[in-house]
Structures are given as structure tokens and as C-alpha cells.
Subunit: 670 residues, 2 copies
């Protein structure tokens, strides 16, 4: 049962497709305090609070304070409160109370989940204009199903987007891209996508290509597609302010960019330098921005990643001028800075980027009304990705286009996926990658994954091998790294056989992974679930933070500690351990071991992938291949337990949008 | 067997007391490449590399590159290469090779432990003037014993320093300090020390007291000592440059400060603003600096912590002037910074603090020779703490003075302990705290601990409870937090009973902890050992990174995951689980459970402390107390296994230096 409670004058986010009538009564479970703009609820000691999508910390969000404030935050530390997204859904699983709560509110929202007081959940909004949806149901999965029905079907990518992607900020030209493909293909490392970061654009101008470095993108795209590799360019949120640049000129002429209070263009500096920001909340501006993607579609491009759409602002001119002035003053008055002056200096510097005041300095125009940006801040990335997604429905009605975003809000899940942002080459980020999966799935984000090997900092070979052993299961499987970090393509390291075997496993699992993805998307289900969702009466499961169920068939439990020879695993029920390891011929082989319910220490040598098949279950395996097009989705081998029930297999052409055709489903016997 | 190999002209660090003759032959196990200034050694796949003291990552240091470059580094992330210390000792434990290696070298040194190539250990020095000690022995402990004998006996603090300390950057005045003591005492939370951070000084001038905020430090010290609480003030490395400030004037007159190439004083800005740096490598300057502590000893102070002695330099005047000039130019030429200009601007800002060029800009005078600082950089904190330690031997020959430092080099362990630096309120830093313990112990640093609750960022109650459950075992047990972070004294939270019980456990364990500390110090042993040291033939032990042996009796295995209800523990042999928990009267009670060797999941509710008693062992427990002086070290209760062997109990007056008196040892029966 879903009930909507409405407070103040609500800004329409379109997160929810079909809004139920607002209730007149009081919101159950919570103290509602409009004066403090707060919802407060007591938590019993063993209540678990799930949700909040893309965030730091555990699957259980208790013990920290989170802020929905889409931020360009490259430091995913335990103490951060915001990453790139605003996913305002929690699932409260207590002894006496169980409910989902979605706060549909586009401004800054905090969730104090037992940070200030370990036994209190307190949600505070920046202003008192919000819709609150309370969802009650039979169990956690039922609540999630209801919520997902409320917010609509999740984005579905083309099937080739389940292949392996290689990316790096720093592939500067066609030769760099060809070298990547050649390295993969010559070493028989499977590959489906090469990503283009900002390097491909002409001076970081959206929808342009630097012809001095990418002479003919259409030809390159065609050449690589003949090798079953697709190019996936990045699109940035900000549009370079440059006279004669058609996107800028047209957007300005049509009034599609955000403006200051006085109506002048709002200018902030991002990668292209001076830039303007398309009014992604204005439907006409959105439609116009979406049509710009055609420039790349026409060159054979079939997928995009939308970046910097929190939106990130390195600095605004006014603020920079202010900072430079203040620094000059400091210099004049006090060459020998005292500590206070030095602190003021460092504070000034720190205030330059992503300054909250800058987000208060510009306006959107929605339905003829001007809306100050900070009040709807969390909708920007959503709007940008919606712009693209809606355009693709027009421009390519019969073809799925790959699309995912950095910033997001619930509702955006209908238009694209997300990657988990600019993580680091840290062992702890393998675990963070895993923990975000069920939280994101609850909120509708299914096409997701982290930058394997880590974006910032330097990767090591063992880190990448271990991370891939999780990444083979995530819908988005991409190795990506930042400019200036150590090269981390698998072929940069020595144990090519292990990389080949692990990447190869991905392609053997593809029929299953794609089928599970599609069923989750079409049915509003989670692809990855915390163990407790399936074992509500097992208290141990409520605390497991490093294992997940994948579909009804698998449990995953990757190794995420350096120099570990294995790891502990808790089995809530008897399972079959599946080890994918080097067989006698050097290729991958599946080795099985039946394990009883309970605790186990499982040895996992570097290069092995271990997962667990649930009792009575089976799943289809392909022979593998060098790319998704190679994979035979029809002639399947079944990986099965004794007495396995048939597997419900979803299979379609992987390209068209005929998702609901009943012929896409069939039952496979073990 | 210890062999010394000497290359180039070695700077005498006095890390080693009695240097063996240098060998003429080749260094075994390594390729020595003077041209690349490198020592290279292959590592078999399962070799473990221990050591490197205060550092990030695991007990096994494989898979990263570490740099000995004492740094004011408040971000103890996985990807850092340097913290505050230079502990150039490794213990290589391979299938075919086992050795200790100490590189006695005061400059910048890197240890690439399988970062670049997973199978290669490569040690590279900034110049080719170094002593290398190769130590071979029967087993890991034997190698450590030999090494510790080489570098001399570890520092021994007064026994009261094993009590609980409370600290915060931000106790501004006498009232703040009294409020801390009152809060502890009124809630019956035991306490022995309150630390004074930089707030107590007059404008951050060493050896001064701000009389407007601390009207009479001697009286306050006396008043608190009557309550068995000692004040422990901080001493910073840098001396304020201020005319009329006697320390500055005298040091300048005597030529005891570091100078630039032209002989002028080297000035850098730290907390006091413009500051000068005592030449801690010059024995006269060191003796003079050490004598300054008398100003505080004379006010009843009996302990100090030496800070900012890497040394930290926020900026130098020249560099600041350069940065301000460059920023002015940017402003003039290009109000609208393009991306390159903006990057230059941020780069300029980032270059201000701890700039390597600044460390090349000043000189020490040693034996009449001038030595550029960067070549001996890692000796500065060592010299400062040695200055204090040597002075205390003169000023207080019959009394131990508490002393520990932030920066250190091997050799400094004879003069003081270290705290583990400016960590954060992160769950991962509980584990880092544990992992550093054996690494530090190998290098001679026994009096150590981390800032419990975390220095930077905001602590939560559960974090502090879990961290204390490790902290009760570390010799230095101090809660410390940074200015601006959430208050984290235990009385700021709600579950006072649990805090009282856990802090109380510390005082019940004191006879054992003090005895173990003293035996480790006097015998060159480790107080905390990796499990593999005791079970060299158990391969599982080689990978255990979150459990340690404490003495011969205990194994510790703290919980370090938020919202965990327990943890996995590996027992290499049968043990007795000891759970310290709330008894029927609310006080602490020991509950025992025999566990067989193997893997166990152990429930550990928040507020419990769990540890493991080894078979055939017993240990003494006191009744506890509100302070160390309360604890009865004579009438002891034995916590014992069946058939326990007697416990070798070290007990002395805890104050004087009569360490080796045989009457300090006796055998206690279970």
C-alpha cells in the first residue's frame, strides 16, 4: 500500500509517474515538524535502514548522516555525506515497523540515520515543500516492488553494453584507441566498447570532435564496429561559451540556458573554460539539448555517458574575481601572513569550486516560472539524461542506445543507468562497489557498475584481478582511470592468462546476466539483493555487508582485501561453491564443491572467481566469445544443482524495444 | 647473525648503538645497483614482507610502494606512500629466504614491495650513502630480537601513562580542562591524563603558557594531580620568530637554528606564524632545546608530546611571495582563467605547504659540516625527541617522564614513543591502528596507540565503543580529536555504562599490560605479534591481518565494521574466548567459552570486549580503579586456563629507572 503525504507547494519532479491522491491524515511512524522541516522516527536497536542509493558506507545505512546534494565528489571517503546522486528512498526494516519512504523533493535533504542519536532517524529538508510516499508491504521485496511500480520501468541498454568496456581519461587520438583494441584482440582479451573521455572533443565543446586527433570519427566507428567494438563518447553538462559555436549560439538565441537573477546568462567555468548551462528543467530546452546528440549518432555512435551534470562548476567569474582581489589585498597588507590570514587565504581558495552560493545564483524557467537552482539542484543530471533518453526515443525508435550518467535523481532511472562515479584504486572501493549495488537497485538503477581498477590513484595487478572478480557480475563492466594515474588496462600487467580467463567468464555468464537484468527491469525487481531479503528470519543475514544474492540463483562474495588467500562466507542455506579457475588446458574450468549452510573460510587464489549456486537452481552458460556478438545465446550449457528447477530464461534480440513480447521468456531445464 | 654493508659516505644517524664492522663481500639476496641507487630482490609468490613501522596498508606490506619521507600527512589513505615516520626495517619471510633488512639512511628512501612488479622488491635511495644491515636468524622473532639488540632498548614511560588519556585540540582554558576531569570523575569514568594541545601556549610559543587562559599552570597541575590526573602539554618543533621571546633570542644568539645557504636564519610559517627551526642534529642545539622543557617540568608537568616535527612547514615567505606574485599576474593577464591558467593557479596553491624545495633550502651543522636538510630530513623528529629525552635524564634522573612524538626514525624509540598521527573517525582506521602495532613493535616503538575515536572527521558513539575495545590493549590509550570536529569524549554519548565498563577493563588489565610492556622493552621483544610469528607452519596465519597476539597469553580480534554484530576469528589452536560484558549488577563480568582451533563467527554486541586466552596460559587481573594510582598491583586475580603454567609477572614502582632489578620479576600461579 502506497500513501502520499504532501507538504507545502511541491515542485513536480516527475519521479513518480502516476501520483496517488494526497492523504489528509498524519504520516504514520514519524513526528512531522514543519517548523524544523523535519520528519523524525525512533529506531529499535536492531532495525536495519536500507536505501539511499549511491552513497558511502554500508548496505545498512545506520550510524551516519547523508545529504542529498548532487556533488562532484572524487573522494568517496567514509566521512562524506554526499556523492553525485540524490536517491531519497529508504527501506526501514525494524522489529515492529517495516516501511519504505520516498521523499520526492528536489532540494537539499539530509538523512540523519542515527548519527546524532543512535536511536533516531531524522530527515530534514531545506524548505517545506515535499511529497512523502509511505509504502507498506508484506516484506522488503514487496515494498521495493511497489516502489518500483510507482516510479516506472528502469532503463534497458542494448545487450552489447553488457560486454567489457575499456576507458581512460587520456586516450588522446585515433591511434590510442586503435592501440587499445589491438592489444585486447591480439591477446584474446574480450572487448565490446572503448570509451572516449573529454579528450576527443574540440576544446571540450559538446557534440564536436577534434579533427586533428580524430580525423574521421564516423570512419573509426565503422572500422571498430567491424571488430565488434563500439566507441562510447562522453558528453559534459556545460556548453562552452564561444561565439560561432553553433550549440552555444542556438541555445542562447532560443533562451535555453540558465540565467542570473537579472536575466543575463549564468557563466561558470568547467572543462571548456567559460561555459553556460542548459536549462534541463525546461522541456523545450531539454528537447533541444537531446537533439544535439544526433551529431554523434549520425557518425555511427550508439552510446554515451553524461558527465559533470551535478552540475560541476570549477569556479564562476565573480567568485574568482573576488578571490583574486582578496588575495591581492592580503599581499598588499601582509606579505608575512599570520596564521589567521593564511587560513583566510586557504579558505578563499577552497571556496572556489562547487560553491553553494553559486548554485543560488542562477535560475531555471519551468512552466513560465523562474526557479532558483539550489531549490531544484538535484534534478539537473536527471534532466540532462532525460533530454538524451527522450531524444533517442524519437531519433532511434527501433534501437536501444547506451546511456548512463554521473549525477542522478530517482526518475532518471527510466532514461539511463549510472556509473558509481570517480572512485579510487582502493581495496575498500571494491567493497563500496558491492554495497552500492542493492541500494541502487532499490531506487531503480539497474545498469550500473564502478570504475574497475579505480579511477583516481594507482592500481596494482592484484587489485584489478580481485576487482574484476566482482565486476564480471555487474551490468556495467568497465575499466576506467584518471589522467595521470598508472596505466591499468589488463594488458599492462603480467598475468594475462588470468585476465583472459576472468574477462572470458563474463561472456560465458552473459545469457544469465542479461536474462536477470531484463527480468529485474521488466518486473521492478532487484538484480542484487542483501541476503536478509531472502531470509528475513535469519538475524545473521541482517549484518552481512559483503555478500549479495544475484537473481534467484547466485550468491556473490568477492575478495576485497589485499594479500588475502581467501575469505569468510556465510551461507544461510546449503549451496554449491562454483570456482572458475585455470583448467588443465589453461582455459577456464568450473570446479564445484557442495557446502552446508553455515560459516566457511573459502580459499580464493588470485585469478580465481568464486560464487555460489543456490539449492534447486540452475543457470545457463554460453561458450563465451571475444565480444557479445560472438556469444551464442541459444546453445547453452546449464550449470545446475541436483534436482534443479527449470530456469526462467529471458532472451530477445538485444537491440529492439519489444521487451514485453511473451516469446522472450522460456524455461530451461538443467 | 647481523652483517653490515656500507655504501658511500654514511651520515651517522646513531640509530645503531654498536656498529659491526662493514663487510667486504656482496650483500646476499639482493642485486645492488649503485648507479640506480637500488637494491633489488625477487619475491616468491607467498613470501610475506613485514615491517616499515608506521605506514598505511596491511601487516604484510606487499603490493604497494612506500616512501620514507616524514610528512605532516593527515590523510591516511590506502594510496599514501608516506606518513610521519621513516622506519626502514623490513622482515622478509619467504619460502627460501628469511632475513631482516635495515637501511640506515636519513634521506628519502622508497620501498617498492611488488607495486611495479608483483614479484620484485626494490629499495631505492635518493643518494648512494647508506648502511645496510642484513639480519638472519632461526625465525622471525629471532631476527627481531637481534635487530632490537642492535638498536638498543625501547623507551619506558611512567606507569601512570598506561592509564586513560583525554585530549582535544580545543581545550581552551583551565575551565575546559576542569570540565573534562569533572565529567570523567562524576560519571566514574576512569582517567589519568588530560592532554593540552596548542591552545595552552601564548600565541603558539613553545615553553610558554597563555596566562589569560591558563592563569596558573603549576597550580592547576597540582590541583589535578591531587585527583590523580596529569596534564600533558604539546611541544611543537618550530620556534616562533619574535623579538624578545627568550627561546628565540637565545637560540638565535647561540646559532642553534637552521640557516639558509647564505647563513641567514631559515624562516617558515607554522602555527606561530614566522618560525625558526632548531638544528636538532647539532648536539649543542639539541641539549639547549631539551633544557627548555624545564620551564614546564618546573610547573609540575611530567609528560609531553612532540608535534609537527617532520618538520611541518605551512609555507615559507619566499614561496608565498612567489605564489602571490604569480596569482597577481594571472589576475592581470587573464581575469577569465582558462582551464590551463586555473590549473596553474590551483597548482600554485597546492605547492605552498611541505614543499620539497623548501626542505632543500636550509642546513644543519653537524660536526662543523653543513648538511642540507633534505639529505637528513628523516632525523628531525628523532632529534627533537632525543633532545627532550636526553634532557630528562639530566633534569629528572630518578623519574620517568612521559614522552612521545609524531615524527620518528629508528633510534628515536630509545627516547620516546609515538602516536599514530592525525588519523580520522573512520572505521577503516580501527583496523589500521591494529595493523601498525606489530610493524611498529619490530622497529622498537612499543609505547604507541592511535587517536581513539579518530582525530579528523566526526565520530559516532558506536565507532568510539568499538575503537576503545581495541584501545584498551594499546600502551598509549588516548581519545583525541581535531578542532571543529564533533565532541567525542565518552560522556558526550548516551551509553555511559558501556564506556565505564570498557575503560574500567583497561584498569583491570593494567598489571598484565604493564608487565608485558616492560618485558618486551627489556628483552627486545614485540608486545604485539602477527599470528604467523607463533605458527610459522600454518599458512592461514600468514594472511591474518585483523588479529594479533599480545604477549604469550592473549589474542586480540576487535570488531572494526559498523553495524556488525560480531566477526570471524581464526584460532590456530584451541583457545578460551573471554568476553567482558555487563554482569547482573551492571558492572563488568568475564564470561568464558572454550573454543576449538579453527574458524569461528563470534557474536560481539556493541559494548562487549572479546579476547582470547591461549591454552596453558594465565594472566593477572586487578580489581580496577579510577586511575592508575588506585590500582592494586599486588592483590591480583588470575584469569586462567586449565593447567595453566605460571605467569612471569614484571612489577616495579612504575616511576624510577631501576628496570633491571631482578626483584621486579616473579612468577604467579593460576
Amino acid at each position: 500500500m502506497i500513501r502520499r503525504f504532501s507538504y507545502g507547494t511541491v515542485f513536480e519532479t516527475e519521479a513518480v509517474l502516476d501520483k496517488p491522491e494526497a492523504q489528509r491524515g498524519a504520516l504514520p511512524y514519524f513526528d512531522v515538524d514543519p517548523k524544523r522541516r523535519a520528519l523524525t522516527c525512533r529506531m529499535d536497536a536492531d532495525a536495519v535502514v536500507y536505501g539511499l542509493g549511491e552513497n558511502v558506507r554500508g548496505i545498512n545505512k545506520r550510524g551516519w548522516i547523508y545529504e542529498s546534494r548532487c556533488s562532484d565528489e572524487p573522494h568517496h571517503h567514509e566521512d562524506k555525506r554526499s556523492l553525485y546522486a540524490a536517491h531519497n528512498f529508504i527501506l526501514f526494516d525494524g522489529r515492529e515497523r517495516r516501511f519504505g519512504l520516498f521523499v520526492d523533493y528536489p532540494g537539499i535533504l539530509t538523512f540523519d540515520v542515527g548519527f546524532t542519536d543512535a536511536s533516531v532517524l531524522k530527515i530534514t529538508a531545506a524548505d517545506w515543500n515535499l511529497d512523502v510516499y509511505l509504502i507498506e508491504g508484506a516484506d522488503n521485496r514487496d515494498i521495493v516492488w511497489q516502489f518500483r511500480r510507482l516510479i516506472g520501468r528502469s532503463y534497458i541498454p542494448p545487450r552489447w553494453a553488457f560486454g567489457v568496456g575499456q576507458s581512460r581519461w587520456g586516450y588522446q587520438n585515433e591511434a590510442d584507441v586503435r592501440a587499445v583494441v589491438r592489444s585486447y584482440r591480439s591477446l584474446r582479451l574480450p572487448l565490446d566498447m572503448v570509451y572516449l573521455d573529454i579528450d576527443y572533443m574540440e576544446r571540450y565543446k559538446d557534440f564536436t570532435v577534434d579533427r586533428t586527433r580524430f580525423e574521421d570519427l564516423a570512419a573509426l566507428s565503422e572500422e571498430l564496429k567491424a571488430e565488434n567494438v563500439r566507441l562510447i563518447p562522453i558528453i559534459d553538462a556545460a556548453v562552452k561559451q564561444e561565439d560561432g559555436y553553433p550549440v552555444y549560439e542556438e541555445g542562447k538565441a532560443k533562451g535555453y540556458f540558465c540565467t542570473r537573477e537579472d536575466g543575463s546568462l549564468f557563466v561558470g567555468a568547467v572543462w571548456p573554460g567559460r561555459s553556460v548551462f542548459t536549462d534541463m528543467l525546461n522541456p523545450q530546452a531539454r528537447a533541444w539539448f537531446g537533439r544535439q546528440y544526433k551529431a554523434l549518432l549520425d557518425q555511427g555512435i550508439e552510446g554515451f555517458w553524461n558527465d559533470m551534470n551535478e552540475p560541476a562548476i570549477f569556479y564562476t567569474e565573480d567568485r574568482l574575481a573576488h578571490v583574486l582581489d582578496e588575495i591581492s589585498k592580503l599581499k598588499e597588507t601582509n606579505q608575512n601572513l599570520d596564521l589567521e590570514a593564511f587560513r583566510r587565504f586557504t579558505g578563499l581558495f577552497g571556496s572556489l569550486s562547487h560553491n553553494p552560493e553559486d548554485y543560488q545564483a542562477f535560475y531555471h524557467t519551468v512552466g513560465g516560472q523562474r526557479v532558483r537552482h539550489d531549490r531544484v539542484h538535484n534534478l539537473y543530471g536527471y534532466g540532462m539524461t532525460r533530454a538524451a533518453g527522450e531524444a533517442f526515443e524519437q531519433l532511434e525508435p527501433r534501437k536501444r542506445i547506451l546511456l548512463f550518467s554521473r549525477a542522478s535523481y530517482i526518475g532518471m532511472h527510466r532514461y539511463g543507468g549510472i556509473w558509481q562515479g570517480d572512485n579510487k584504486s582502493w581495496w575498500s572501493h571494491i567493497l563500496l562497489n558491492l554495497r552500492m549495488l542493492p541500494s541502487l537497485n532499490m531506487c531503480g538503477f539497474l545498469y550500473t557498475g564502478a570504475d574497475l581498477g579505480g579511477f583516481g590513484c594507482d592500481a596494482t595487478e592484484d587489485l584489478l584481478l580481485r576487482w574484476y572478480a566482482l565486476g564480471v557480475f555487474t551490468p556495467l563492466m568497465r575499466n576506467h582511470a584518471a589522467y595521470g594515474t598508472r596505466d591499468q588496462e589488463p594488458y599492462r600487467f603480467s598475468d594475462i592468462d588470468s585476465f583472459r580467463r576472468i574477462l572470458g567468464l563474463r561472456y560465458r555468464l552473459l545469457p544469465y546476466l542479461y536474462s536477470e537484468y531484463m527480468k529485474a527491469a521488466l518486473r521492478g525487481d532487484m538484480m542484487f539483493r542483501p541476503l536478509a531479503f531472502d531470509h528475513p528470519d535469519d538475524p545473521r543475514c541482517r549484518t552481512v555487508e559483503d555478500q549479495l544474492y544475484l537473481g534467484a540463483e547466485l550468491m556473490i562474495a568477492p575478495v576485497y582485501e589485499q594479500n588475502a588467500a581467501g575469505r569468510y562466507v556465510y551461507l544461510p542455506e546449503d549451496m554449491t561453491l562454483i570456482r572458475y579457475t585455470a583448467g588443465p588446458d589453461g582455459d577456464g574450468a568450473f570446479v564445484r564443491e557442495a557446502l552446508p549452510a553455515g560459516d566457511h573460510y573459502v580459499p580464493v587464489p588470485l585469478g580465481d572467481v568464486v560464487f555460489f549456486l543456490r539449492k534447486g537452481r540452475c543457470l545457463p552458460l554460453a561458450e563465451g566469445g571475444q565480444c557479445v556478438a560472438d556469444v551464442d545465446f541459444e546453445n547453452l550449457h546449464m550449470l545446475a544443482c541436483d534436482d534443479a528447477q527449470p530456469y526462467e530464461y529471458y532472451h530477445d534480440d538485444g537491440v529492439s524495444r519489444d521487451y514485453d513480447n511473451p516469446r522472450n521468456i522460456r524455461w530451461l531445464r538443467a
